[in-house]
């Protein structure tokens, strides 16, 4: 049988399998219909893998239709790469099946753990930056990339505590993982701001010490503000607010170093109407366009 010649299939055949260096948004069930009805001009959409690990029903119905029209990033939140448990091979099988079905341009996961002793805690929990954890994280990423037959992007975390057992800095740890596993980096600029604020570090210095050449995607999101027991700012990676001005500034700073990069506007809580997210994506697109060399601009006009 001849495969249907959908836009997605044409795209797969015609160009390298990567996201465009444009802004995308997280795909939310609230926006399924609006996206198909209004067909907004978006670089890509991103889903959380685990939300679509169901047998059938409306989620697959809508994602199938939206995926035919947009590049897709699949972002896992449940592999527990930093966990002490062995990798959950059943979960990895589910993930492989999902990637096989939707053929995303990008797959990413977190430097964090979320399961222990067979329980799933539904949060991205922090790891100690020591040699034991480094070996385990690398072993897990090697296995994931082998099982999925593709390179993955690893996201830098937002953290609220650090471990006395850590012997490496976060940037050293991430650099070593990227080097050993040859995986990419998903640079979450909001997480950089949140973690650096929470641990008294300079965000620009931290960025400079990351393996920026490996960045394949950027995440931008909003945070919530609290204070710790001494009254110092304690920022929470809430994904429940617009991207803050300080994060936009750090984003521009990062792009100056790495060039145009696919950029996701992440919003998982207090989800606004689609046009609100599209406006944030448009803002990111304008910043990305500002990076184009002048010669390219005049060639277009």
């Amino acid at each position: 049988m001849i495969p249907r010649d959908t836009p997605a299939r044409r795209a797969t055949a015609a160009r390298p399998r990567s996201l465009p260096a444009r802004a995308g948004i997280g795909l939310k069930p609230e926006h399924f219909r609006a996206i198909l009805q209004t067909r907004p001009d978006l670089g890509f959409v991103e889903i959380h893998a685990e939300n679509y690990m169901v047998a059938g029903g409306p989620f697959h119905h809508w994602l199938t239709r939206i995926r035919e029209r947009y590049p897709l990033s699949i972002h896992g939140v449940g592999l527990s790469i930093g966990g002490e448990d062995p990798l959950d091979e059943t979960h990895l099988d589910r993930l492989a099946a999902l990637l096989d079905r939707y053929q995303p341009e990008s797959f990413s996961e977190h430097l964090a753990w979320s399961s222990h002793g067979g329980n799933f805690y539904n949060d991205l929990l922090p790891v100690a930056y020591d040699k034991t954890t480094l070996a385990r994280v690398c072993e897990h990423i090697d296995r994931i990339q082998e099982r999925l037959g593709r390179r993955m992007l690893l996201e830098n975390p937002a953290t609220y505590v650090e471990f006395a057992a850590s012997t490496l800095s976060e940037a050293e740890f991430i650099s070593e993982v990227v080097r050993r596993c040859d995986c990419g980096l998903l640079l979450d600029v909001n997480n950089v701001h949140v973690s650096c604020t929470n641990h008294g570090r300079d965000a620009r210095d931290f960025l400079a010490s990351l393996p920026l050449a490996a960045v394949g995607q950027i995440h931008l999101a909003g945070f919530a503000s609290e204070v710790d027991s001494l009254g110092a700012p304690l920022l929470i990676d809430s994904h429940g607010a617009p991207v803050a001005e300080v994060v936009w500034a750090l984003y521009r700073h990062a792009l100056d170093r790495i060039g145009p990069t696919p950029t996701l506007i992440e919003r998982d809580n207090d989800i606004p109407a689609l046009p609100v997210l599209l406006a944030e994506a448009h803002h990111a697109d304008r910043i990305l366009e500002g990076l184009l060399p002048v010669v390219a601009e005049s060639a277009v006009s």
Binding site: E50, N51, M53, V54, A55, G56, G57, P58, F59, H60, H61, V77, G78, L79, S80, G83, E84, D88, H91, R94, W113, S114, S115, H116, G117, G118, N119, F120, Y121, N122, D123, L125, A128, Y160, V161, E162, F163, A164, A165, N198, H199, G200, R201, E226, D228, S229, L230, A232, L234, I236
Partner: protein, 259 residues
């Protein structure tokens, strides 16, 4: 190390695991509480999404306190949270503060079936013509077997579980609840047709008939089962409902197979 961290996430005494540091020497308990809050609130929110009528029946504060207890005792065993809530109805049933609402656990059971139906596998319903051809073939009819939709579930309850659920699907819920006899036994047919999950009130005979079909009984055996439960059961109407609900996805009988 993760074991201590994980245990403290679900603990209620505000302790935090050993070995945590903070750059400015602030108390790690306050910072660790962010993780505990993310975990517990996130899982309680997941239950609130899946059990909205259960929540309305007891109020948000009561529901969240009850859900927190469940989360601490029964954290998810899978990263696929869509179906988290297996066992919640049984927990509600044995939760002493909810003992005054004997129907609450069955409402939770119905809501879990609704979630399972929403995410169940897809299947294409047979057409009216398929069914008509079968009904015309009187000789083959008793031996026929129906394949029912993977998104189909039947729930029988000693309480007015469908009426309670239905009364919360509109703005005038309070009005409809006023005259409701919650001690009236009811059965529910839950099935997804295209993108919508339908919940239908059915009689005990219809429930017996559909359950027998689901267990691969042929029409004759399923009808017998239904009539044993309820001598007045209307099997034609029940078949009509199954068809309307998109619940019949295959028909097999000794001579022919559809589709």
């Amino acid at each position: 190390m993760s074991a201590d961290f994980a245990a403290a996430l679900l603990a209620t005494d505000g302790r935090c695991p050993p070995g945590l540091t903070c750059w400015n020497g602030s108390a790690p308990e306050k910072r660790f509480a962010v993780y505990r809050n993310n975990v517990v609130v996130g899982l309680v929110d997941a239950l609130a999404d899946s059990f909205p009528v259960t929540q309305t029946l007891v109020g948000e504060d009561f529901f969240r306190a009850m859900a927190r207890e469940f989360v601490r005792r029964t954290p998810p065993r899978s990263p696929v949270l869509a179906l988290y809530g297996e066992g919640f109805a049984e927990f509600v049933e044995g939760f002493p503060p909810a003992a005054g609402l004997p129907y609450l656990a069955d409402v939770a059971r119905l809501e879990l079936l609704r979630v399972r139906s929403f995410h169940a596998a897809d299947a294409r319903p047979v057409t009216q013509q398929h069914l008509d051809r079968l009904l015309a073939d009187q000789a083959a009819l008793p031996q026929a077997r129906f394949a029912l939709h993977p998104a189909l579930f039947v729930l029988t309850s000693a309480h007015a579980v469908v009426s309670l659920w239905a009364a919360h699907q509109s703005e005038s819920a309070a009005l409809q609840l006023a005259g409701l006899d919650t001690t009236q036994a009811e059965a529910a047919l839950v099935c997804r047709h295209q993108l919508e999950v339908g919940i239908y009130r059915i009689g005990p005979g219809a429930a017996g008939f559909i359950t027998a079909l689901q267990q691969d009984a042929n029409l004759s055996a399923a009808a017998e089962q239904a009539l044993t439960t309820d001598a007045d059961v209307d099997l034609t109407a029940t078949l009509g409902l199954l068809l309307q609900a998109g619940a019949i996805v295959g028909i097999t009988h000794p001579r022919r197979t559809h589709p």
